[in-house]
Subunit: 384 residues, 2 copies
Amino acid sequence: MVVEQGVSTDFGHTTLPYCSFVGTGEKRPKVGVGVGTDVLDLTAAAARVVPERAALFADGTLDALLGAGRAAWGEVRDALLAWVTGPAAARYLVPASDVELVLPFTVADYVDFYASEHHATNVGRIFRPDGEALSPAWKHLPIGYHGRAGTVVVSGTPVRRPSGQRRAGEGVSFGPTAKLDVEAEIGFVVGTPSVLGQPVSVEDVEQHVFGLCVVNDWSARDVQAFEYVPLGPFLGKSFATSVSPWIVTLAALDEARTDPPTQHPRPMDYLQADAPWTLDLELTIRIGDTVVSRPPFATTYWTPAQMLAHLTINGASLRTGDLFASGTVSGPDADQVGSLLELHHDTTYLDDGDTVTISATARLADGRQIELGDVVGTVHPATA
Amino acid sequence: MVVEQGVSTDFGHTTLPYCSFVGTGEKRPKVGVGVGTDVLDLTAAAARVVPERAALFADGTLDALLGAGRAAWGEVRDALLAWVTGPAAARYLVPASDVELVLPFTVADYVDFYASEHHATNVGRIFRPDGEALSPAWKHLPIGYHGRAGTVVVSGTPVRRPSGQRRAGEGVSFGPTAKLDVEAEIGFVVGTPSVLGQPVSVEDVEQHVFGLCVVNDWSARDVQAFEYVPLGPFLGKSFATSVSPWIVTLAALDEARTDPPTQHPRPMDYLQADAPWTLDLELTIRIGDTVVSRPPFATTYWTPAQMLAHLTINGASLRTGDLFASGTVSGPDADQVGSLLELHHDTTYLDDGDTVTISATARLADGRQIELGDVVGTVHPATA
């Protein structure tokens, strides 16, 4: 498969996002770290940077690092911070534009939430103009569902327009979706697993969540609308979910923490944190070179810690590589929506050949910004 | 975790179901084959039985065999059929009751269908007494959704009663589910993967599906009812899905094929097979020693091949280890329902301490029967 890579982001020397990459002329992936616009070959450098942890990078994916837990994550980050600006690092750097970035970890379960009040309200008004926009449970718990982990693909993977059954007047027709949409989301990658039967507390989110990525949860709205009662989205979303190739650690985004929205009614105790936080991330959706929206993640009603606590409150266990996404991020304004459904009120969707790029910028307390990785995808025509 | 194993099934000498087991005093799992009431240690015997395929059994799981494809499945089965009754086999046999049976393969995605018309009608009548029992799409396509792969557990694993939010009069309460239910299902295990963007035809089901198991998709009905609009089941089912430890190959069940129900209206072309078939399996649900129901799988409206073709019609790819289940199997009669919801009309559910056993028997064309593996689970109290 041809993977179309975007231009390299300049990550500076402190963000230190992780990736998995295949070097020119090489076959096996290696673990990389973004340094400026280069990739540091950590699989090769680990014996010098973090000799006692070098085995974590041997297989070229982030899987072992994810499973090693928070103490190891901190050790590796501290060692890298001290080392990447030194003279020894240079020989392990290659321009990011020269390598192929691949899916950086083995995706275990993929859960998608529906955590933006603005999005849920917009969608409810479009589909149920005479009813309540939000379901009765919406303000009591973060609504979520399981998506297809096996079709999570890395940024740059072409997205084939899916075919399926849709309503056609009083009947049903089959063919390529006429309503191919994007959903701009933030995804959280679980590192440390949990034990079956033991819920994870909101306070323990940093023990379990390694970092985040940018997500485009492609959706075929006509397929989805026909199939989704009563068991939820299935083929309307399972054909592809694109993720950015860089995993930015929670540790790198410490200073991007901000207050979450006020929640009313007060959520139940298991959803209450002593110091609730969300992240000040601005997403940008581009179709071609045109910016169509700038969704603000901090307006999302439910926080990442609440999503995690809810996901496990029934005793469901976490595995290394679980990915949970926020659901479509939409702000209160018309130019802050996270899907074309909302932008065009269910009238205009993606054409074949459209390239969609979703970017995200973290705004730190001191005014600096961190660019996260882009997630890019071009729509290819349906198979005849 | 203590795994409570049931008694051994007598599999005879031709069913040859696969398992993964840990021998007494051993730590690493091995691949086993059910022969009579014994387990054949195939990881040890493979060098003698199928020397050129011995590497498939080295890691003690079925993963490599699943991924090796149909030609390899046939080779191994043929070699075993010719060898297990010979004198050399005896030294590799241990009583199944002496070993621990573990989850036999790495579960990739778990998809649950809703393919029984009797079940969907029963549920529709209970929850929507004044409306249409079936949704408009139900007879056009097999409704399905993704479940949680990470909480698929082997038979014998205790099932902790989950807690969650439920409706309480006009408000909402939190606590252990009061409506813990079973769902008796048949699960299909995918071996050969498929390519992203390329649907799998109904005719190719045997190229991709290795075999089947018995499934209990435990459900917390009160949690499910509060959360499930509009995105479907989530915490109400994600706490545990139990599977039988034996994977019976499609090849072993060739003679159990039977005609599926008549479908009206005629399904779309991609759901049409030249020679449609389903399997003549009778399930039995026991609570303690009491048989409460005997669901007939052959009454399930959508066939396994149709489920697979639908699952991939949007281009979603299959991975080795994907598990898709039929959804609750219910026949037309009151003593053939696959859930307590239907049996007791939403009035009586499982108590702590209840042990649920779901068995299945395949009825062959010549009148013989094959017992599949049981799936057993005991309800443990909610964590305080």
